[in-house]
Amino acid sequence: MGDKPFFIEALVAIKSNVVYRNGEEIFRRDHIQEPDAFIKEFFKNLKVKYPKFHKMDVLSKLGFLASEVLLKDKYVSPDTALIFSNSASSMETDRQYRASMEDFPSPSLFVYTLPNIVLGEISIRHRLQSENAFFVSEKFNPHLIHTYTTGLLKNEMSPAAVCGWLDLKNKEYDVFLILISENGKIPFTEENLQKTYYFDNE
């Protein structure tokens, strides 16, 4: 078992039409109503060429954008684990697919009716062939995320991890992802995980 200390190297939060990187506001659009429109504007702003982005469902787009901000200009090991959670699973896309079932069931919608598809999208984008886990809980559960991620890091299954919360319900989204690695100043503890999440949600 490894005894190396791990740190919160970087964090990103996206909520109510604002994007924060390491606690600092980096993008804001106050007048936009629909998450789709905000997502589109922020994607444009990032100046990333990635045609596949437009095929994704909203949950995957949010995860993609958050990981772009989080992993920008960083070396990311292909073994970086992805440990995500939310409360609504893939409910928004489930409902869209359910509606399409009445006429022409759409395979391109159906594939997104699983919450972990976003882990696949991020893995493809950043070439990560790593540990995946998607948890569903009513609220962000720092204890579970910390316990599970620490297990992977300590057993040397993964040298780093991206973990957090990626929720989309009734067109309201709440995104909070952190990069855990051997670099950084804030020790990766349950308490710090809780603090950083709630800081961004105040």
Binding site: R98, E102, V111, F135
Partner: protein, 381 residues
């Protein structure tokens, strides 16, 4: 990696409402896949593994009041109930609950109008946890078709981290109109009962099941099967199709071999995912071949159950446990002529064989893959 032991287990499926009934059916090569004409599920007839409604109602009536529970909840409660029957003194203060499902109560999802709150996985979990009186909040794992196996890794992690001494892992999914229409839209549903690894395979058959296992940090007096290694890996290739080179699955196999300190030749049996889609089975054959496992007896249980999604890797892990305990290799049902490009040692009929170590694999949408290794400890150890 510390070991965690698999104590009592239960499977609720079209093959029976206990692990013993399921094992008996498998030994007799009896399949739960039947031709169904059900307008509530599909306009066309289809082969699938469906739990008989009356049997479910009758079994559930014997243990509880029927009215407040959904079909999936009843299946899951019956599975956990089987375990508690054998462990009446289980202390809920230090026992966790991990729930594995992909779609939960998806049969309650309507296209429009107010949502029935039970379609949320958190509500399903709450319902199961409260029914039995678990003290800790249930942990829900929803990671496509590897969920049932990943839930075992999560349960093991919750025990080795010291949070619980015991964890009940329960998995379940329904054969729903939602999922059937989805796989049909991919042209992935077979017109005949699915034929894993066969040349004439033409897609999956769907099924439904619930299963439960009691994980424990302590060994039993005898008949100990331990989960000694577990790993997942993403293909980073495609969200709805597996990697052509089996990259992610290969990686998980390498990782569990390393974790357990075993060599490929130490493995006695492989319980494969074997969905019977052309791409999945070919990918698995490549990953197993690359891992030096072509010679190891392997089966897919999908010919008995169909694909039970979030339950499948858990159901198959339970069968693997009993394969090891009973020194039995079960026939890979519906296998005909090999239809994969690498040789595999497919189990064609029931055999008695001394077994010590088994590998369980699974793969799913989103490019996820999983491997687990189970060990049979010699008695008296």
């Amino acid at each position: 990696m510390k070991k965690v032991y698999l104590h009592d287990d239960a499977i609720i499926s079209p093959l029976g409402f206990s692990t013993a009934e399921n094992l008996q059916a498998i030994k007799e090569e009896y399949s739960g896949l039947k031709l169904h004409q059900k307008n509530s599920l599909s306009a066309k007839e289809f082969y699938g593994g469906i739990i008989e409604e009356k049997k479910l109602e009758n079994s559930f009536d014997k243990i509880a009041d029927n009215s407040d529970f959904t079909r999936l909840e009843k299946m899951m409660i019956l599975a956990v109930h089987e375990i508690l029957k054998k462990n009446p003194d289980l202390n809920f203060n230090n026992c966790g609950l991990v729930i594995s499902t992909t779609k939960g109560n998806i049969d309650l999802l309507e296209a429009e109008g107010l949502l029935n709150k039970k379609v949320f996985l958190t509500e399903l979990a709450k319902s199961i946890g409260e029914y039995f009186g678990f003290k800790a909040e249930p942990v829900v794992v929803s990671n496509a078709c590897i969920s049932g196996g990943l839930a075992l890794i999560v349960g093991k992690n919750l025990i080795t981290s010291g949070q619980f001494q015991r964890v009940i892992v329960v998995g379940g999914d329904l054969l729903s109109k939602f999922v059937l229409s989805g796989f049909s839209s991919f042209q992935a549903v077979s017109a005949v009962p699915c034929k894993p690894f066969s040349k004439s395979r033409s897609g999956i058959s769907l099924g439904e099941a619930a299963a439960a296992v009691l994980l424990n940090s302590e060994r039993k007096e005898k008949d100990n099967i331990a989960l000694i290694a577990g790993s997942s890996a993403n293909d980073a290739n495609h969200i709805s199709g597996p990697s052509r080179t089996g990259e992610g699955l290969f990686k998980t196999i390498q990782k569990v071999l390393k974790q357990s300190g075993l060599q490929p030749e130490d493995l006695d049996y492989i319980s494969a995912h074997g969905t019977a889609t052309p791409y999945n089975d070919e990918m698995e054959a490549i990953a197993l071949s690359r891992s030096g496992l072509s010679h190891v007896p392997v089966n897919s249980l999908k010919g008995y159950y169909g694909h039970t999604l979030g339950a499948s890797a858990l159901v198959e892990s339970i069968i693997t446990k009993h394969s090891l305990l009973n020194n039995e290799l079960y026939c890979s049902l519906n296998f005909e002529e090999s239809g994969v490009s690498k040789p595999l040692n497919i189990i064609r009929q029931y055999e008695k064989e001394e077994l010590s170590f088994a590998l369980k694999t699974a793969s799913g949408f989103g490019g996820c893959n999983l491997s687990l290794i189970f060990e049979k400890e010699k008695n008296g150890r």
